[in-house]
Symmetry: C2
């Protein structure tokens, strides 16, 4: 069945090719829990996924999904801002996943914002081990998200190019504000 | 050994994940033959690779490399413009690879140009089967390639979004005109 490739498929291809059993991942924006579930399926019982969301509705959705899938022993779902992620884990991580925007099927007026997103990205990039990855999907449109999109993309340009490979991918022939996918690999030049 | 990810690695990851034994590929810009060789290694003896270059030096380099690697039975190297690719193969293809710019270790003044590149891209996209892919790396810098880069990227925006997924990837935190990687998947929405 042929179909169009979207941001989720692209991000999952990138993550799947690099995350393995036993890895430690952070889902910085749990939302409905789909990425938390996906990460749990990759890291397995020897791995760990810590998911964050500031909306109770999102945390509940994610906990329910994780429970249904039998991943309770792998994922921890935290009701707090992703900007505080370093309070909940103090080791190195293999992967961090961010979706900036609104809660799917939630209130479009409640949206991630540039200040806390950039703070959280900065912490996650610091926590990444060498060879670790960060996947960031930026959703914007209607009246929201444009400022966050611009400021986050500007911030990413400032990352040290000898440590971080920042790849910004855009669906340039799609109408109506298609999401932007960012893939970052932390590597030390040798 | 950790190291920075470059355009070639990124393009090869994309191609490797989708090209398989028996596939038919076009290397639209043979250059020193590295992509022709890479494609031959993926499609094997039951596959076919047709490579084009307008510079004799490039065609000779590519033929030599292919011969050294034992891929003579797989690759055909043609001294002609990629804009004429449809004269050399009239079936559907699985993959096309383009590198726009100058010949590596060659004369920087001899450069692909927007008109023939866009004509060749258009033919390759037409020849792709559903599910087929096109990888395009755009090199530019010094005084050359900026016009071609801009016109090619503008052209790609005009492709039908229900048929072609066009993903333009940029290394946004690198200085000095890093190459732009474009990945296209031809798919019919179902």
């Amino acid at each position: 069945m042929a179909s169009i490739i979207g941001a989720v498929t692209l991000a999952h291809e990138f993550i799947r090719s690099r995350v393995k059993e036993g890895d430690v991942c952070i889902d910085a924006t749990a939302g409905r829990g789909y990425d938390t579930e996906f990460l749990c399926s990759l890291v397995g019982k020897s791995g760990k996924v810590i998911a964050f969301d500031i909306q109770e509705e999102a945390v509940e959705s994610t906990r329910r999904l994780i429970s249904e899938k039998g991943y309770d022993g792998i994922a921890e779902v935290v009701l707090d801002s992703h900007a505080n992620m370093d309070r909940y884990y103090d080791g190195e991580i293999d992967c961090a996943v961010f979706n900036l925007g609104w809660l799917p099927r939630g209130d479009h007026n409640i949206h991630t914002n540039a200040d806390s997103s950039i703070e959280a990205l900065s912490k996650a990039l610091e926590m990444l081990k060498d060879g670790g990855i960060l996947s960031l999907s930026i959703y914007y449109g209607r009246e929201t998200g444009f400022d966050e999109r611009d400021r986050v993309l500007e911030y990413l340009k400032t990352l040290n190019p000898s440590v971080y490979t920042v790849i910004v991918s855009e669906f340039t022939n799609r109408p109506n504000c298609p999401p932007i996918c960012v893939f970052i690999v932390k590597l030390v030049e040798v």
